[in-house]
Symmetry: C2
Subunit: 145 residues, 2 copies
Amino acid sequence: MSAELSVTENEAKYLKLIYRGQCEESTKVRTTAVAKSLGVRPATVTEVIQNLSEKNLLWHRRYHGVELTKEGIAEAQKLLRKHRILEILFTDLLKYNAQRACNEASKLDYRASRSLINAICKAYGHPEICPCKKVIFSDPKCKKK
Amino acid sequence: MSAELSVTENEAKYLKLIYRGQCEESTKVRTTAVAKSLGVRPATVTEVIQNLSEKNLLWHRRYHGVELTKEGIAEAQKLLRKHRILEILFTDLLKYNAQRACNEASKLDYRASRSLINAICKAYGHPEICPCKKVIFSDPKCKKK
DNA sequence: TGTATATTTTAGGGGTTCCCTAAATTTAAA
DNA sequence: TTTAAATTTAGGGAACCCCTAAAATATACA
């Protein structure tokens, strides 16, 4: 029973960004880079990172980078699964290009329920790759048959 | 140029509720009823109503009810259009029932962009009635041809 | 190896939004 | 007209997110 602290929508944005950097691009995630990317000041990034750290979603070594914990990775993957399934919906149904689909998905992913995402996933044949060729994480609750 | 103040997601919830009461059920919208409906205290409702009133979205006569202004009605209809188009998506694509579609739509409607909604509207042939038989307001920017 | 420069973190605030309780006030009903 | 119900004020509080200025640390290069 991991007294799972909830993640705010803003924190979710950080998690997705950090995950992409750390796990998909293998770059060292730097405070300043995150700040530029999100349009806030470095001090703000440090603060949010400290909150995420208190929630055990990442590991923070002062003046060095951050590293997502197992829980942080799991949370980021849940979020990115939602994001990418929504991208599939928008490219398939609405013929959006990858960029636009990503934009719209970013506005909704955090709010989309797990069951909604799984229903969409099923409707589109359990896709494994999103429009920008990244992997779509699977959900054990999302039955293929 | 109506220096249009933005509406928070919570305020949007109030607007939708008040619109349904006032315009679709012709009931007098009472503070206590809203409070029960949203699970908050009456004093909280009064406060939010005062904010909406300052944004010129409704008219508040102390100790009597509220009445949406023209701007309030327009805003509520924009929100409900989004809500109902999303309901169409979920019932058509995912075979959700009206109730469930409404639940999911409630989580996303506020965040869905106008253009996304119009794209979905087009994809589903510009529906005019939502799953629970309410009217789907039209958007002049949503071209039928 | 120092020292200058860049990066990051702390300290100290501020604003918004949403919520609450308790005490008034006003309305409506008996 | 009194009383009960509904509503509003008054006065707080907590969560979040953001900022500037100053301190601490790391890094890069003479």
